[in-house]
């Protein structure tokens, strides 16, 4: 009986009761009632009795069944709500994991790139510095010779020619030095970082990218601006931001580099008169792999890396931008990042 479905059970039960009633109720009535005249009255009572009893039985039977259904439905609803919450929670976890994964990937790509670049630059720097050393040695010898002896023909010109050698060596040497500092591999955040020197180095390294229609205006603070940090990583910060500024300028434009010293921090502002950034993109600028540049022009890692480096320095990175007018990037770095 239990394994049968409700509709079968109720039908069978009803048929059984009805059948039994039809079979036996009249016989029982005849046994109980002898008075023939009253028999038809009792027949009516019996009918009513049957209807009331079956109605009561049906009521309890159906109610029991429906109650079972109702509690099931409530349980189901609860389960569903719980499921929705679980899905929401899991989705959040998944999103967080994806973000972490992207961050890690960006970090890995960058670390790998910088490691190869570091090896390459150190090698190249060493190979260039040696021949530069030859030229410097020759210059020193020639210069002394020139000071001690007068050259009969055009002594002034010879002096200028020798000095030009020195200027050439000094300039090449400072480029090599800048390059080495940029790709310097170090995990320390306790190095002395001369902000002006780093910004200048970055500008030298960007000079081939800075098209001749872009003018660079410098407004440096008079103070020395030496902070504690990581020299190589700070080079990356300025190169990334300057690179974005250069790429934002389509033809003619200006980049203004401003430095200011405050009590416990330094502020470097890089302002460009480029295309600007739409509001909806401002929030996503530092997301890894977010890029609006054409394929091959940018990886979408530059500002994400920049942001992480500044975070490591316990500093802040702020953007202000207006489409068609340009973008201002403000880098705030504490003088000592680990007190």
């Amino acid at each position: 009986m239990k394994s049968l479905k409700f509709e079968y059970r109720i039908t069978i039960l009803y048929t059984l009761i009805g059948g039994l009633w039809i079979l036996f109720s009249d016989n029982i009535l005849h046994l109980l009632v002898n008075n023939r005249a009253k028999l038809s009255d009792f027949q009516t009572y019996k009918g009513w009795f049957y209807v009331i009893i079956t109605a009561i039985l049906l009521f309890f039977f159906i109610r029991r069944q429906l109650n079972k259904h109702r509690s099931l439905e409530i349980a189901l609803q609860e389960h569903q709500n719980h499921l929705e919450e679980t899905v929401k929670e899991r989705t959040k976890e998944l999103e967080l994991n994806i973000k972490r994964l992207k961050d890690t990937q960006a970090h890995l790509v960058q670390t790998e790139k910088m490691a190869s670049l570091g090896i390459l630059t150190a090698g190249v720097a060493h190979e260039i510095n040696n021949p530069l050393n030859y030229i410097m040695g020759s210059y020193v010898g020639l210069h002394r010779h020139y000071e001690e002896n007068s050259f009969s023909d055009h002594p002034e010109q010879v002096g200028k020619l020798i000095e030009a050698m020195k200027i050439g060596v000094d300039r090449s040497s400072s480029i090599v030095k800048g390059l080495s500092q940029f790709s310097r591999k170090s995990d320390s955040y306790d190095e002395d970082c001369n902000v002006h020197e780093i910004v200048e180095n970055s500008l030298i390294m960007m000079s081939s990218q800075i098209k001749c229609q872009i003018s660079i205006e410098k407004d440096y603070s008079n103070s020395d601006m030496v902070i504690k940090g990581n020299v190589g990583n700070l080079h990356q910060v300025f190169i990334n931001i300057l690179n974005n500024a250069v790429q934002a300028i389509e033809s003619v434009g200006t980049i203004i580099v401003k430095t200011r010293e405050k009590e416990s921090e330094v502020v470097i502002t890089i302002e460009d008169t480029g295309t600007g950034i739409p509001k909806e993109n401002l929030k996503r600028l530092t997301d890894p792999f977010f890029s609006t540049k054409a394929p091959g022009k940018g990886t979408g890692l530059g500002l994400s890396i920049t942001f992480n480096i500044i975070k490591e320095h316990k500093g802040r990175l702020e953007f202000e931008s207006e489409v068609g007018k340009g973008t201002t990037v403000r880098i705030v770095l504490p003088k000592i990042n680990r007190p």
Binding site: N129, N130, M136, S180
Partner: protein, 121 residues
């Protein structure tokens, strides 16, 4: 000035050695060699040498290895590295531990090196 200060310069590149010899011989007595081994021999011959300047990357024996060997025998002498590399961990450690007195970058700066050596007279 009575006698010139004696210095030793070690570099595996011949042009560097030649130029150093020409430029520094004006004010100092310069002995040069092309390897750490030659440097150790020179130190033995010229025990009154005040300063030793060495290249960093050389075949067989690096500048640091040479100086470590030399420092054992001649702890009173002053040692310097002259290299085309930026400051490396190896150089930094050598300065911290007192193995070398200082570090010069290539292309060299005459005044910077002379200033350091003249401190020793």
């Amino acid at each position: 000035m009575s006698e010139k200060i004696k210095i030793i310069y070690i570099d595996d590149e011949k042009i560097n050695v030649m130029l150093f010899q020409i430029n520094f011989s004006v004010n100092y007595e310069v002995y040069t060699g092309y390897s750490g081994y030659e440097g150790l021999n020179l130190l033995e011959k010229h025990s009154d040498t005040k300063a030793v300047i060495s290249d960093l990357s050389m075949p067989e024996m690096s500048g640091i290895e040479f100086i470590m060997e030399a420092k054992k025998k001649y702890p009173e002498k002053k040692f310097y590295i002259l290299t085309g590399f930026e400051v490396t961990d190896e150089i930094e450690n050598a300065i911290k531990s007192g193995l070398i007195q200082g570090y010069f970058r290539k292309p060299f700066c005459m005044q910077e090196i002379e200033k350091e050596i003249n401190k020793l007279s």
